[in-house]
Point group: C2
Chain length 173, copies 2
């Protein structure tokens, strides 16, 4: 559990543990998911309706700059917001399905190897690293193929002067 570790670190740094911060830290820690600022704000507001969106941003910024959480982009699925996760775990890549939005985590030695090679090759001092992989999960691959086929058929019909027939669209965050 990363929560107590983070709280201790903050205390040591002389950062005040306010009610708002406690709420936010607990949410980030317990929700196994990757939350973005807005989502976190909405969840926090359930626990304290007065809590302001700005406080969420300020807290996230502080945690990020203090190296206590990592900021992710997740291939900009669902927009340009950022996602956050506590930094306690071992380094891992994020595997994002571009169709259903599911995010998997991948741990494996190529990541460590890459790290070591970058350090020695450039004499670089790594502070943070991020690997994101976008594509289609095993479940979505076949569905995706069908969608592409449908779209092509529609296209052909449209060109031939016919009315396109209704088609279902899919998406989820």
């Amino acid at each position: 559990m990363a929560l107590e570790g983070i709280k201790d670190t903050l205390k040591q740094r002389g950062v005040r543990l306010t009610r708002q911060r406690r709420i936010l830290l607990e949410l980030i820690d317990e929700s196994g998911q990757h939350l973005d600022a807005e989502r976190l704000y909405l969840l926090a507001k359930e626990k304290d309706p007065k809590l302001n969106r700005v406080t969420v941003y300020r807290t996230l910024k502080m945690l990020k700059e203090g190296g206590l959480v990592d900021e992710l982009d997740l291939m900009h699925i669902g927009g340009d917001q950022h996602f956050y996760e506590t930094r306690m775990k071992q380094e891992h890549a994020h595997i994002i399905c571009l169709r259903c939005g599911k995010v998997e985590e991948f741990f494996g030695e190529p990541l460590q190897k890459l790290r070591r090679q970058v350090e020695s090759h450039f004499g670089f001092q790594i502070v943070l690293a991020r690997t994101e992989v976008g594509g289609y999960c095993s479940h979505c691959q076949v569905l995706r193929a069908n969608e592409v086929k449908e779209a092509a058929a529609e296209q052909a019909q449209a060109v031939s002067g016919e009315e396109p027939r209704p088609r279902s669209h899919h998406r989820s965050a």
Copy 2:
């Protein structure tokens, strides 16, 4: 040279090669750097003062969705804009110095290995992948150490009630 390849691909897809697109493609291709939309816009405007910022965004979006350019975040150095590069090269990681902003590219088998492992481990169909590493380049490491030391000294002085003495700040995009 990726330029001709991209132009051909666009032509095959029935995308019109307008004057604006030609300008933008040439800029993205020739500038070896990683440009963001604003920078690209400014450069393009030198060649055609009428060219609009919106056209830059629309062109980048089209190229990105068509898989012809890759979008990078470069660890959000200098803000939340995105950077672009043509997709012809071999897969590589971006190594970003958080102090001077220099971006290095790293090619190495860990990247391919990671790719293969993700594919086989999850049965995942990879569309695009991105690895970004932030830290301090060999040149900036010592400078950074000094800055941290100075900051600490200042901090100590401030606490002891003294006026902090002037200090030099550094930064570049």
